[in-house]
């Protein structure tokens, strides 16, 4: 499918960002996934479940294609980052940032590939816990996506990181 056709299906402008596209995709899924939505007219042939499924499949395919095209358009890594040696683990935010920069991976690239906003990723690297979502499960999710994207071991790094996050939260609540 051509990019133009994909954008048409997702009803976004030619200059829409990946974030806009993701939002549009999520809204369309919300609209078309439920059969009993308010805006449909079940009495009409046009709104058959086959038609709806066809539309959903189109939306899914268009989104996947746009994500792929977007990833292809990003600057490629010259060589994959070398895995950190055992002695470097665990890594704190500062170490993660050093590792990412040494590998030549811009933060925006991680953001677009993980769908985590760049501000959140920056807060993760700088361990500014107060700029992160309050729920630990979200922070852990962001961190895991970030680590997976950089090819880093998730458990070894995330466990001590989350301990620091929880300790900060406990201190703050006292």
């Amino acid at each position: 499918m051509e990019e133009k056709a994909c954008r048409r299906i997702l009803e976004v402008a030619a200059d829409a960002s990946m974030e806009d596209i993701t939002q549009a995709y999520q809204m369309l899924k919300r609209i078309y996934e439920k059969e009993e939505s308010l805006f449909t007219a079940p009495s009409m042939d046009e709104f058959s479940s086959e038609a709806r499924e066809e539309i959903l499949a189109g939306i899914e395919a268009a989104f996947r294609e746009l994500v792929r095209l977007h990833a292809d358009a990003q600057p490629r890594l010259q060589s994959p980052p070398a895995a950190p040696s055992k002695g470097d683990l665990p890594m704190d935010g500062k170490a993660l940032r050093r590792f990412r920069e040494a590998a030549g991976v811009p933060l925006d690239l991680v953001a677009s590939r993980t769908h985590v906003r760049a501000e959140h990723l920056r807060a993760l690297e700088e361990e500014r816990y107060w700029d992160l979502p309050p729920a630990a499960v979200n922070v852990r999710g962001f961190l895991a996506a970030y680590l997976a994207e950089l090819g880093l071991p998730i458990d070894e790094i995330a466990a001590p990181y989350m301990e620091r996050f929880q300790a900060w939260r406990a201190r703050r609540q006292r």
């Binding site: 809204m27 609209i31 939505s37 308010l38 805006f39 449909t40 007219a41 009409m44 046009e46």
Partner: protein, 300 residues
């Protein structure tokens, strides 16, 4: 000159309100605007404009053959003029097709930047044809199942009408009718299959029908929004117009419900005058901008 057509299927969704708001905003921006009350069965554009007793009306065009230029009235808004509906006629809603077509032809020769037609409810041929021929077609819906269902019926009829008009233009109407009547013999069950059959019959039809379909486009306005969560309904309907009916649509935005609007009528002056219904006017301004900004690369 641009001809705007405001329609939407169900009555009471706010076609007159939106027409009026469009007219006010365009006039404010310096356009010469003429509002035309073509809601034959329920004219009240004059009341929106604050004209208690219109001196002229469309009845004079239909009955006395008076030229439109002599029927156009000034309103209290600068650059906004009005052709009132045929209020004092005995037979308001039973004009024949010839008369309505004649009106559309004459409207084209009016001197104005924008002519806004406030179409009535329903899916009559003339309403559909006017909507199909307008430069700027606007569909007005309300966030309830009844209005939305009727809107889709309007769209469905619009598509059938377009199909019928294309067939008539090629002298294929009777033949097509015959095929539809005997569709079982042809193994046709749906409209889609019917069109596919007609395509194999005449490549000329196929070409012309595609061209006509491409031209079809519209702006969608959601009126009477009472709760924030209703706003997404407008986007959902706009999306469905494109995906289920294959009509290129742009979402112009929503208009909040104004519980005090009723008090603005019957007074001396326009209902949407300065100092009243601030939110409503702001919404209608936003909608006008939205429509003017929208583009349909496929349709042009």
């Amino acid at each position: 000159m641009h001809i705007w057509a405001v329609a939407g299927g169900k009555g009471g969704t706010g076609k007159s309100l939106v027409s009026n708001g469009l007219g006010m905003r365009l006039a404010e921006q310096g356009h010469d605007v003429i509002l035309v009350d073509t809601d034959y069965g329920g004219p009240n554009q004059h009341t929106y404009c604050g004209i208690r007793k219109p001196q002229t009306s469309l009845a004079q065009f239909f009955d006395e053959k008076l030229p439109l230029a002599e029927i156009v009235q000034h309103t209290k808004i600068e650059r906004l003029r009005l052709i009132p509906g045929n209020i004092n006629s005995h037979d308001t809603d039973n004009l024949n097709t010839m008369q309505k077509r004649k009106l559309f032809r004459h409207l084209k020769s009016l001197r104005a930047d924008d002519v806004i037609l406030d179409l009535g409810a329903g899916t009559g041929y003339d309403t559909l044809d006017t909507f199909l021929q307008a430069d700027i077609p606007v569909g007005v819906i309300a966030p309830d199942t009844l209005a939305i269902e009727n809107f889709y019926l309007f769209l469905k009829n619009l598509k059938y009408r377009q199909l019928g008009n294309t067939l008539s233009g090629l002298g294929l109407r009777d033949r097509a009718k015959d095929i539809w009547k005997n569709r079982r013999e042809y193994g046709i069950a749906t409209t889609k299959e019917f069109v596919a059959h007609l395509r194999t019959l005449s490549p000329e039809f196929s070409e012309r029908f595609d061209a006509e379909q491409k031209k079809l486009h519209m702006h969608v306005v959601l009126n009477q929004v009472r709760e924030p969560r209703q706003a997404e309904i407008g986007l959902a309907v706009k999306s469905a117009v494109g995906k289920f009916f294959n009509i290129d649509a742009a979402y112009a935005g929503h208009v909040h419900y104004d519980k005090d609007l009723w008090q603005q009528f019957g007074q001396d002056g326009p209902a949407l005058h300065r100092g009243s219904s601030f939110t409503l006017r702001q919404d209608l301004e936003r909608i006008t901008e939205g429509i003017l900004k929208a583009s349909f690369p496929e349709a042009t």
